[in-house]
């Protein structure tokens, strides 16, 4: 049918099928801003447009519904490259993180502000409730409207570090403009029309062998260009885990294996000229399976005679992590300090607790996406990944290629949270591109996201003992993890749970034991917090019980036992990543300050009873937490800096910004060090051809590792600038100084950086000023936080609501305060979702029952607690002048414990398993009655 409409005031006439979705019509017209965050479920709202000024989801509209109408997208907001006021306000409020949801949020703001000039909080929440964001926690959206009223961000956002100009100050995220304008940013924005589309045929069985596979009918279909099955797939074993080599994860994966180990495992992949053809062809593939008995629980997996999921040779694994695949054990580790048995005997009170946490999905709004092609005999992949350099290494191993034949370019990542830490799709895309020689594009559906990467289910036994005076004498953690069908991160996730909880305390007798099991459940891996949210929940709940037994206030027990600056964390020596770790003396620690700051507000909260029959009761809880800032002795980051001919700088970093602002952090640190403004530093990052090695963005390393590499490159640039200037001026380098604003020289004679660049780069100069910075370390600054909350529990229905939440964080220097704050809001809100309702549910056959946003809701703006505040304590750490400790992962570690303790305060019940669904609450209340 023919349709006519106005797209951003421009007349468009098209001949389209009437049932074509508007989302795809706009995509065909190269409108980037309509983002598909769910499987056309109407739930994510990231595909939103304004239709005659009203916010609607383009995935829920078909062609005739826009006929004769005005369609507005963010592409139409900026005129002549100038940003609209709303776009500017989004940048200033610091509410743009990964940017995937940003265009839809901007339209939500526009549709509201066009009607109501000064909207109320309720009206704002109402306008934004249909647009899901997994990064920001929504809180700063309200600031956008304050800015639109004429306020400046400085009036509600604090700045830090008085003596710095850029670090700790409110400056825009360097890529924010790209997102608010929906310029090309994500992989999907760069895919040419001739790319083949990939569809993966996935296993309907949880455990089976492919007896035969016949692709002949599919191959005959027009448009089908390549089919990969286990027959023509590389036979190499590897781990998808994006970890530094040698990886502490088993080499148990093949691109496509003859055996399938979970529902959704790869059986075949079809590359065709369209996704529809690829799907139709996949339907024609005839597969005969020999169905094997599946195991879905650790009990079943560890039973004598249990079906073996991986019958393989572990000698191929680079690190021996205690695997025993014949018993479905992926890995084991144990250790500790002192003598826990003795510590328990010495205790006046002891507590044994058992806790469990389910499989959870990251749900980045942009799913895994990659586009690959061959160029000049080299394999090039544009991808949405956290670890481009690891992916290059893994692919080289799979394809038996030298690494210099592969280029991985990380495009903007629409949220990662650990889901994109691995070579999760690049292995199959790379294989097909390399074997077929053709360009291939692959984008996972939301359903696929749910079945191929999750947070593992964990079961934790905690023992703790303390003296009457509250001194903890023993603490032990025993974790069993159900990591599902393959073992990426199987050791390190549960280990990290121990290495980021036990070192919170000065207790002298501590131990840990972790065992991970294969089952035929979905594959698990890294997820923001990396085992800590689960283990910290278990530890803090146990200590809560212990405090009760001792008749102490929880905060008093905690304050009595926490580590302080200068304390030597001996336990860390035991808790390496599959090898010996490094004991570390605390170079800084703001934990006590965080607790004390938080308590001041927390103690003013009064618990009330409400409801028609007094059934709604309030309670308060707090929790402490720590993370790392990268892994000392293992991780490394590099940066290269160039002064270009006008005296500005290019900074090349290997670090992979996931939307969390790593590029901005690197630019700010370099600008501070060189005395220039942030604008003077342009950042290119995470391209294996053009940027130096960086292990990638995981283990909370971005700000500290990549930032420190940038610092070293800038420091070195400063030295080069001084030396070159001294030579030009004919003075000793000790007489030359750098002056703010891009000037260098002596008191009497100064050169601008522009003049310096001209001279050094001229025929008679010393050459372009290029420096590099390599950062490795034996110590990494540990971030700490204390979180506080108040909840209302409805004793009749079991529904719980978080009324107040206050998070106080020691993140060293909040290098970019607005971004840091946004990270905390986002992480906390996400964890509130995990605590109450986010859990994958499986049927008897292992089929996931809620692999979509319809049945797996994530928090929206109306889930934000009424009081939701984030504060920082500014802590100086001597490692570098710009120590920004990590923040994103840390902030996921406390909400569950905090809420669990608050529910106990309100009702006396203990909820030891996530999610705290109402039936679980009611069950515990019933138990309590009886």
């Amino acid at each position: 049918m023919k349709i006519k409409f106005f797209l951003n005031k421009r007349k468009v006439e098209l001949d389209v099928e009437p049932d074509k979705k508007v989302l795809y019509i706009l995509k065909d017209l190269s409108v980037n801003s309509v983002r598909k965050g769910c499987d056309e479920e109407g739930k994510c709202g990231n595909c939103a447009i304004l239709l005659d000024g009203k916010l609607v989801n383009s995935c829920m509209l078909i062609a005739p519904q826009i006929d004769g109408k005005n369609v507005t997208t963010v592409e139409g907001l900026s005129e002549n490259g100038q940003l609209d006021g709303i776009q500017k306000a989004f940048i200033e409020a610091g509410v743009v993180q990964c940017g995937y949801c940003t265009p839809a949020q901007i339209l939500a703001a526009k549709s509201l502000i066009d009607k109501v000039k000064k909207p109320t909080k309720e009206q704002i929440a109402d306008a934004f409730e249909g647009v899901l964001c997994r990064c920001t926690g929504y809180k700063q959206i309200y600031n956008v409207f304050e800015i639109l009223k004429g306020k400046s961000a400085k009036s509600f956002e604090k700045e830090y570090k008085k003596d710095y100009r850029v670090v700790g100050k409110l400056t825009p995220k360097i890529d924010a403009e790209q997102f608010v304008k929906a310029d090309d940013a994500f992989v999907e924005d760069y895919v040419p029309k001739d790319a083949l589309h990939l569809y993966i045929l996935r296993s309907p069985h949880a455990h089976a062998e492919v007896v035969s596979i016949d692709t002949s009918e599919a191959e005959k279909m027009e448009g089908v260009e390549y089919i990969l099955t286990h027959k023509n797939s590389p036979k190499v074993f590897y781990t998808q885990a994006g970890q530094s080599y040698p990886e502490p994860s088993p080499y148990d994966q093949q691109v496509i294996s003859k055996k399938v180990r979970h529902i959704g495992d790869r059986v075949a992949a079809v590359a065709a000229t369209s996704l529809e053809i690829a799907k139709a062809a996949a339907k024609k593939i005839k597969v005969k399976y020999k169905v094997l008995k599946p195991v879905f629980t650790i009990e079943d997996a560890s039973r004598e005679g249990a079906p073996i999921i991986h019958n393989r040779d572990t000698s191929i694994d680079p690190l021996q992590v205690g695997a025993d695949p014949k018993r479905n054990i992926v890995c084991r580790n144990s250790g500790g300090i002192g003598d826990v048995g003795k510590g328990l005997k010495e205790a006046d009170a002891t507590v044994d607790g058992f806790y469990s946490t389910p499989f959870i999905q990251h749900t980045p709004l942009e799913p895994h996406t990659a586009y690959g092609y061959m160029k000049n005999g080299r394999l090039v992949i544009h991808t949405s990944v956290q670890t481009p350099f690891h992916v290059r290494r893994i692919l080289a191993h799979i394809l038996n290629l030298p690494e210099n034949k592969i280029r991985i370019i990380k495009e903007k990542v629409g949220g990662g949270f650990g889901a994109k830490q691995d070579c999760g799709i690049e292995d199959i895309v790379g294989t097909i591109v390399y074997q077929s020689g053709k360009p291939v594009y692959y984008r996972m559906t939301r359903k696929e996201e749910f079945t191929v990467r999750t947070r593992p289910a964990m079961f934790m036994k905690i023992k703790a003992g303390a003296k009457k005076n509250g001194k903890i004498t023993a603490l032990s953690v025993e974790t069993k993890a159900d990591v599902g069908a393959y073992g990426p991160h199987a050791l390190t996730v549960p280990m990290n749970g121990c290495s980021k909880t036990l070192p919170l305390f000065t207790c002298e007798n501590m131990s840990y034991k972790v065992t991970s099991y294969y089952t035929n459940n979905v594959v698990s891996g890294a997820y923001q917090g990396y085992g800590v949210p689960q283990t910290n929940f278990a530890v803090q709940m146990t200590l809560g019980k212990l405090a009760k037994k001792l008749g102490m206030k929880y905060e008093d027990l905690i304050l009595k036992n926490i580590v302080k600056k200068g304390y030597r964390l001996e336990i860390l020596k035991q808790l390496g990543e599959g090898r010996e770790g490094l004991a570390q003396k605390l170079s800084s620690c703001g934990l006590e300050e965080c607790i004390k700051k938080g308590l001041k507000i927390y103690r003013t909260w009064r618990n009330k009873t409400s409801g028609a029959n007094g059934e709604v009761v309030q309670g308060k809880g707090m929790a402490i937490m720590m993370q790392g800032s990268g892994i000392p002795g293992l991780d490394s980051a590099n940066a290269v800096m160039k002064m270009i001919s006008d005296g500005t700088f290019m900074l090349y970093i290997g670090g992979a910004d996931l939307g969390t602002g790593e590029d901005t952090v690197a630019a700010k640190i370099a600008a501070e060090e060189l005395g220039v403004s942030q604008d003077n530093i342009a950042v290119t990052s995470a391209d294996t051809d053009t940027t130096p090695f960086d292990k990638g963005s995981y283990a909370s390393s971005g700000t500290f590792f990549t930032g420190s590499a940038a610092y070293k490159a800038a420091k070195s640039m400063k030295e080069r600038i001084i030396k070159a200037t001294a030579k030009i001026l004919g003075v000793k380098p000790s007489r030359v100084k750098i002056f703010p604003g891009g000037k260098v020289g002596t008191a009497s004679r100064k050169l601008s950086f522009k003049e310096l660049a001209m001279i050094t780069q001229s025929g008679s100069g010393c050459g372009q000023l290029i420096t590099s910075g390599a950062f490795t370390t034996q110590v990494s600054p540990i971030p700490y936080a204390a979180h506080f909350c108040q909840v209302s529990v409805n004793r009749r229905t079991g529904m719980v609501k978080v009324d107040k939440y206050y998070a106080v964080t020691d993140c060293g220097i909040p290098i970019n305060p607005a971004l840091a704050r946004g990270q905390v809001y986002g992480a906390v809100l996400k964890t509130i979702g995990h605590t109450f309702y986010e859990a994958l549910e499986f049927g008897k056959t292992g089929k996931c029952l809620n692999d979509n946003f319809t049945n797996y809701p994530i928090p929206g703006i109306k889930d934000v607690p009424e009081f939701f505040e984030v504060d920082f304590v500014e802590v100086k750490d001597p490692i570098t002048p710009y120590v920004g400790k990590s923040i994103g992962e840390l902030s996921c570690d406390g909400a569950s414990a905090c809420i669990g303790l608050a529910i106990n305060d309100a009702t006396g019940i203990w909820l030891d398993s996530w999610p705290f669904r109402p039936d679980r609450v009611l069950k515990e209340l019933e138990k309590q009655k009886s």
């Binding site: 074509k20 829920m60 005739p64 109402d126 409730e129 309702y837 946003f853 319809t854 929206g860």
Partner: protein
């Protein structure tokens, strides 16, 4: 797929009769959900002038193509209908979803239908060349023709509701609505309707008998709850079990009655 924009109700009806897999298209939030419409023919109702809210001498008439957002914002519809409409999942969907589609779509949850039941709304529809008006209840069981409008003849009925959901972006778990008239100090024409409890809308038969004829202060929550609980057979889902749904219904009844008592005190 064929697509038509009929200019009259008769033309629309004729087009529908020509194909077994033909559907009327209103806002499309159900038809276009998760993929393109699984239809052979779509008959778009947009040119039939079925939108708009009209105040009647007594009551209000809401055109079938009126969106839920328009209802939420309207000062002309009874407050409980506007209030419940504002709770509908999200503005993005409310801006397209229509009241006609809500009735005919019979989505597994609705926070509009229980309210309409409690207002004893009537449905004006077009079938076999004629416009007819029947009770909403009747239309839902017979499912006939093109819905033209919904009529609320008595907006003064007392209608109260409660909603519970797990997360703000989620579909509602339970929606409970109670409505009645007071005549001579006694309850008349009571209706209790729930969504989220069964696969389809639940309309009480027994509990309303209990309410009718009583004075407001004579209603004992426990007695009313007991009857409703006997009538319902909730279905649970992964988020909220059937036992919890029963508790939520109880909570809703308590809160609705206490709100009413609070207002009449």
């Amino acid at each position: 797929m064929d697509y038509f924009v009929p200019k009259s109700l008769s033309e629309a009806e004729k087009l529908k009769k020509q194909s077994a897999r033909a559907f009327y298209l209103a806002g499309g939030t159900i038809l276009n959900w998760k993929g393109s419409p699984r239809a052979e023919r779509l008959i778009d109702l947009k040119a039939l002038k079925l939108e708009g809210i009209k105040k009647l001498k007594k009551g209000v008439e809401i055109g079938a193509m009126t969106t839920i957002q328009e209802i939420a914002e309207s000062g002309d519809v009874p407050a409980s209908l506007a209030g419940a409409s504002a709770l509908f999942t999200s503005r993005n969907v409310r801006n397209m979803a229509t009241v006609g589609g809500n009735i005919a779509g019979k989505f597994f949850i609705s926070n509009i239908l229980p309210i309409l039941v409690c207002y004893k709304a009537k449905v004006k529809y077009f079938s076999n060349g004629k416009k007819k008006t029947v009770s909403l209840d009747k239309w839902l069981s017979e499912n006939e023709g093109i819905i033209v409008s919904v009529i609320i003849e008595n907006p003064d009925r007392i209608v109260k509701f409660r909603e519970e959901k797990v997360a703000a972006s989620d579909f509602l778990s339970v929606f409970t609505s109670v409505g009645y008239l007071i005549a001579g100090g006694r309850i008349r024409d009571a209706e209790i309707s729930l969504s989220g409890i069964h696969r389809r809308l639940f309309i009480s038969k027994e509990a309303v008998k209990f309410l009718n004829g009583k004075k407001q202060r004579e209603i004992f929550v426990s007695a009313l709850n007991e009857i409703v609980q006997k009538e319902i057979k909730p279905i649970g889902d992964v988020k909220v079990s059937k036992e919890v749904k029963r508790r939520i219904v109880e909570e809703h009844i308590i809160n609705i009655l206490s709100e009413i008592k609070g207002e009449t005190r």
